[in-house]
Amino acid sequence: MKLSDIIVGIAMALLAIMLSYLMVYGGLGPIASYNIRPLAVAFLNNTYNPWQKIYSALSPEAVTAIVWDYRGLDTYFETSVLFIAIVGLLALFRGANIVQGISSKGLSIIVKTSTKIIVPLILVAGASLAFHGHLSPGGGFQGGSFMTVATALLAVAFSIEFLQQKRLSLNTLLAIRCIGLLAIIIVSVYLLINAVLLGGYAYIFQNMQRLLFSPNSLVAVGISQYSMPYWFLDRPLGGILFFFNLSESIAVIGGLTLGAVLLLLRENELKAVIGGEERE
């Protein structure tokens, strides 16, 4: 080990010590400055507030309420960005397909057995994260990426031909992804279509009943009465939050598994498809 390595290491450790000292003793000011705390107070007061439904998302989980209700359009476009990345990957790998190859037997029997034990556990944990995203920390993307780890484990331990034998070919995965995105779009305009058919007004991405504003001024002229179901049996459902988490987890598991399977394709089979004959 050279002298410069030791000096760099000590300098980085000193940086960590100084930063933690500053943060603990408030050297950089309070971590959240007092000017922005009323925003947090407003969110905490309104996230689950059955007495003021026009400001509330009726879900006990503030983060999911912000992500899918108060800034729902932002999250929708984040999902679309991921979809565009998947489309770029598909365009790069166009024509590629899963061929029955030499190494389609997978890994050893020890790895296969332990994968068999662990995959259902991961799937159940991911599903509970996605379905309880409006009640506890978690949500659609978290649950979907948990389940993607399980399917990627299956693809690595059992080979990608195993996925195809279980009817999870590339086209099926792409179809799952598109179904998830379509479900998000349908849920976001459901109340709007309702209002158009039954009369009255509603917003896109509307969750509970909201104040209606006249188009030219910031004066409230009434209340849009339409709202998603917010109570299921004996617990809150959070309106659109539950449906959005469900469809987002479906979209994420389809898209990320598709990306993992595309990257797992074997190189010599790919070259035959992508390279084609030598140009020039």
Binding site: S20, L129, P137, G138, V156, L256, L263
Partner: protein, 84 residues
């Protein structure tokens, strides 16, 4: 003292993550470097948990410990394992 415990734990984990980052940058064997990078991600997940951000922990764990090492290992497999 007890209210400083999360901050002290976060500081210790931050030191471990610095060592892991240093090893990952320095390592010539790219497979080992991926493992060190996953160790650093685990340390960061613990720091997020100690700073009371469970949503970030839940999205950080599968992406940084599951999917990112998978893609990096695939990249190493398709190119070369040892850095020049």
């Amino acid at each position: 003292m007890i209210e400083l415990l999360p901050a002290i734990m976060a500081f210790g984990v931050a030191l471990v993550s610095i060592i892991a980052t240093w090893l990952a940058v320095q390592e010539r064997d790219l497979l080992l470097a991926t493992l060190f990078s996953a160790l650093q991600s685990t340390c960061y997940a613990l720091i997020y948990y100690l700073f009371m951000a469970p949503d970030i922990v839940l999205v950080y764990l599968p992406v940084s410990v599951g999917i990112l090492p998978l893609i990096t290992i695939l990249l190493v497999k398709k190119t070369e394992r040892y850095e020049e």
